[in-house]
């Protein structure tokens, strides 16, 4: 007998850790690790409900497998991007990638 609340709380806690990691870490690889944490939390959630509902088709387990597959693909492509970033900049600190910034126009270009 497992309280359903237990895996759900575990999932919530891991998810929050993942959020913190995505938002607070400067190294791009560490951000990717935090994303993996979040995906793991999601998997726990899926499997907990799969078990709770006694699903015959095991939709939760199948979906968890798919999540793992997608996570792997995502890590692959993500790391390729990180490598390109490193080649272009020499650093993979997220702070330094400011291309999206909106700068003040130069003086006189009002």
């Amino acid at each position: 007998m497992i309280h359903l609340a237990a895996p759900l709380l575990l999932a919530a806690g891991l998810f929050s850790c993942g959020i913190y990691g995505v938002l607070a870490r400067r190294n791009a690889v560490l951000v990717l690790m935090s994303i993996e944490l979040m995906l793991g939390a999601v998997n726990v959630n899926l499997l907990a409900f799969d078990s709770y509902f006694h699903d015959q088709l095991h939709g939760g387990q199948i979906l968890a497998l798919f999540v793992i597959a997608i996570a792997a693909a995502e890590v692959g492509v993500g790391l390729a991007i990180v490598l390109q970033l490193h080649r272009a900049r020499g650093s993979i600190a997220i702070d330094l990638a400011r291309g999206l910034a909106d700068e003040d126009p130069p003086r006189g270009a009002q």
Binding site: M1, I2, H3, A5, A6, P7, L9, A12, G13, L14, F15, S16, C17, G18, I19, Y20, G21, V22, L23, A24, R25, N27, V29, L30, L32, M33, S34, E36, L37, G40, N43, V44, L47, D50, S51, Y52, H54, Q56, L57, H58, Q61, I62, A64, L65, F66, I68, A69, I70, A71, A73, V75, G76, V77, L79, A80, V82, L83, Q84, H86, A93
Partner: protein, 169 residues
């Protein structure tokens, strides 16, 4: 008994997860990630999903973490302790994370505080059942996943080629 085990492994997973996001050493963070994945695999077993647990170990610990470590090496990340791994955003991040935790916990607990999983009457699961289900009911998503993996493969190769001219962003 399963409940206690579940609780213990879950606690381990949580602590390791916290260590992943707060460690000052990139390699140590990766290793703590291994601990998290391993504990999660244990949890999956306790939730009557042994096949998923093995896949988790195989792929996550075996491939993903290794890949992450390769990336750490290739990007010359500092392998010793470094204080520059946390951005100034971490206080806001902490706040958001705590808020998310609070929201999720409140919602989930208020909904499912009295529910219990009866592991003894769990339906059959395992490799045979999973394979049967995939190739009967979930064939199409399976094919799509393989396409997706192919696309990711090609994308990763293309993205990391040196001889493609690109902007200096």
């Amino acid at each position: 008994m399963t409940g206690a085990a579940f609780g213990a492994i879950g606690f381990l997973a949580l602590c390791a997860g916290v260590m992943v996001v707060t460690s000052r050493n990139v390699v140590r963070a990766a290793l703590w990630l291994v601990v998290v994945m391993g504990s999660l695999a244990g949890e999956y077993v306790l939730l009557s999903a042994p096949f998923v647990a093995w896949v988790q170990i195989l792929i996550y610990v075996g491939a993903v973490v290794v890949l992450l470590l390769f990336a750490v090496m290739l990007t010359q990340a500092p392998t010793s302790s470094s204080t520059t791994l946390d951005s100034p955003n971490r206080w806001a991040a902490g706040g958001v994370a705590l808020a998310a935790l609070a929201t999720l916990a409140t919602v989930l607990l208020s909904a499912f505080s009295h529910a219990r999983i009866d592991v003894k009457t769990a339906s059959k699961s395992g490799a045979e059942v999973t394979g049967d289900t995939i190739f009967r009911a979930y064939t199409l998503p399976f094919e799509l996943i393989s396409l997706l993996l192919l696309a990711a493969l090609i994308g990763a190769i293309v993205l990391s080629r040196r001889d493609i001219p690109g902007g200096d962003e």
